[in-house]
């Protein structure tokens, strides 16, 4: 088990290295003079020189690449061009918001999605058709449209839930949850649809296996066959999908945080993009890539635990 995790980490490191290098070279892609692009047309020569210096653009590319790596390895992601704050600090402030959103949405997705999928597979008939139809529509709903519509219905018309605002969970879990309901639903609905469809097909496939017939021949109760044996075997592909959903939610957060005014990574990135605050964008890419790799690792470990064939005896 430990060896497996170690191997996976060893594979993840070069991937992260490629992503870090990629973000460095991305800046080199800026056509013309990057400082000019960043500052806009009205910039003075002195301002351009200052930004050039700040970005290290007055140094040879090799040196800059090494310096960028050196800083990144030390956890130094540079400082913002706009407000001069360390990027690492800004990200550290924003991360809990995004992670709490993403983790809640993934939990919701997993629990509701698996529940609906099993229901759909086992009950069949009308229930199945309704769940199937609803998940087709659910998967087609853009989260940002859904978010605005939810705000319209639950905040503006019904006034049940707040449209914006974020309370850290450490301050007041109740307030946090109150503010998170709409964003989590908006961002998680497509995932629920996707997981329920996958659970359904995985369950149907598993229920068609020979060993299910053997279990029935032993006279085991349907409950045990479905929830103990079939679900356990069907869960192996579902886990992978839940990992993908988490990654999707992380991306979707960029837009959703904007709508609900949540001070997370998404909002940070979005502001940085509109202000051409390159170091912040670079930092966001590196940190989110690291999170994605971590989640993939986690998925692999869960997969390993669930699937005895890949587990060492």
């Amino acid at each position: 088990m430990l060896r497996f995790v170690a191997r996976r980490v060893l594979i993840a490191i070069p991937i992260l290295a490629i992503v870090v290098s990629f973000t460095f070279f991305l800046v080199q892609l800026i056509p013309g003079n990057p400082a000019q692009t960043i500052l806009g047309k009205g910039a003075t020569a002195a301002q351009i020189a200052a930004v050039n210096h700040q970005l290290g653009l007055d140094q040879p590319i090799g040196i800059r690449f090494l310096a960028f790596w050196g800083n990144t390895l030390q956890g130094n992601l540079g400082v913002s061009l706009i407000n001069g704050q360390p990027v690492a600090q800004s990200i550290a402030n924003a991360l809990p918001v995004t992670l709490s959103l993403a983790i809640s949405a993934t939990l919701l997705t997993g629990i509701v999605g698996i529940g609906l999928g099993v229901l759909s597979a086992v009950r069949g008939g009308t229930v199945d058709r309704i769940v199937q139809g609803a998940s087709s529509v659910g998967m087609a709903l853009p989260s940002f449209w859904l978010a605005v519509t939810l705000v319209l219905v639950f905040s503006i018309i019904l006034k049940w839930l707040p449209a914006t605002g974020y309370t850290p969970i450490t301050q007041s879990p109740g307030q946090w949850a109150y503010g998170m309901v709409l964003p989590v639903v908006a961002i998680g609905l497509a995932g629920i649809a996707s997981i329920s469809r996958q659970t359904r097909s995985a369950m149907l496939e598993t229920l068609g296996k020979d060993y299910i017939r053997s279990l029935r021949a032993q006279g085991l109760p349907t409950r045990s066959i479905i929830y103990k044996h079939a679900l356990r075997n069907a869960s192996i592909p579902i886990v992978t999908n839940i990992g993908f959903q988490f990654i999707g939610v992380l991306g979707g957060a960029v837009i959703i945080e904007q709508i609900f005014a949540l001070p997370g990574i998404g909002q940070l990135t979005n502001t940085a993009v509109s202000q051409h605050d390159i170091p912040v964008v670079q930092g966001a890419v590196i940190v989110t890539a690291a999170i994605v790799l971590l989640v993939n690792l986690l998925v692999d470990v869960v997969y390993l635990i669930l699937n005895p064939k890949t587990r060492r005896a």
Partner: protein
Amino acid sequence: MSLIDVRDLVVEFTTRGSNGSKVFRAIDGVSFTIEPGETVGLVGESGSGKSTIGRAILGLNPVAEGSIAFKGDDITRAHARQRRALAENIQAVFQDPYSSLDPRRTIEDALTEPLRAVKRSSRKDAVERVRWLLGMVRLPANSAERLPSDFSGGQRQRIAIARSLANDPELVVCDEAVSALDVSTQAQVINLLSQLQSELGMSYLFISHDLSIVQYLSQRIVVLYRGRVMESGPAEQVGTQPLHPYTRALLSSAPVSDPASQKRRRDARRQALVRNEPPATIGSDQCPFAARCPLVADVCWTARPKQVTVDKTTVECHVFDPESGHPDTKQPKAAKVAATASPTA
């Protein structure tokens, strides 16, 4: 000169697991020959490596050690162009008639493909040839434009046979070619194979787990167990009065369709086989059958048996080797240790 000469063949597979890769030796020093016009039967249970040998001859498995020669030319590591030239002479019929035909291509496509790949025949000649081939395997000429899904298992196997004959090969490797078929269909295909051989004169390497079919079709039989040859010799001899304890176990385990003789076989089998879960790996310096052999002695666990020739049969068993140190050495009159030392890889 032999058509095929396999010498000291070793095939290894690397299995990649979650805890590193392991090398598994599927074939461990196998030698035999196939003469022109002859059928050699390769018989063994799953894991014996019989299909691996066939695939090595066809160039579908890489060879680790040893050599394979076709009419004296070394083809062990034939590169792609050489292989394509060999396609004219060495052909195959595989086990599963459902997977061996591309479901999206018509029978004519399947049959003209080897013609056009090897001989670059013209379209017209190829179509002519397809009609002839379908006749040879007793299928109606209008089969050509149909898809594999229109045919039953036995018919598909006929098509696969026709494909193998497209370029008049000198050797056809039949890898479990009748195992997937029902008994009555199986008999049809077996009859077809022997008729085709008497008409066209090619050699067969007939690979099967069923000793009775192998004995029926072959002139010589090679018995494999876990990648090693246990016994090889004339089909009549090996199929009815085998020497090696493994062949005897194999023969007595195969049920016969007659209650009285089956009862006798059952009694014989109880003598011939020790019920024992065989070990996962066998050392190259052991007899692979030791765990289940009723005649096992200490030497079977410590030394690889030499090849001993008794009459026309060659057997790898300490019991038949007077110098092996086995306590129950039998010494039939003709027994003598083969001049060739067995490979100690």
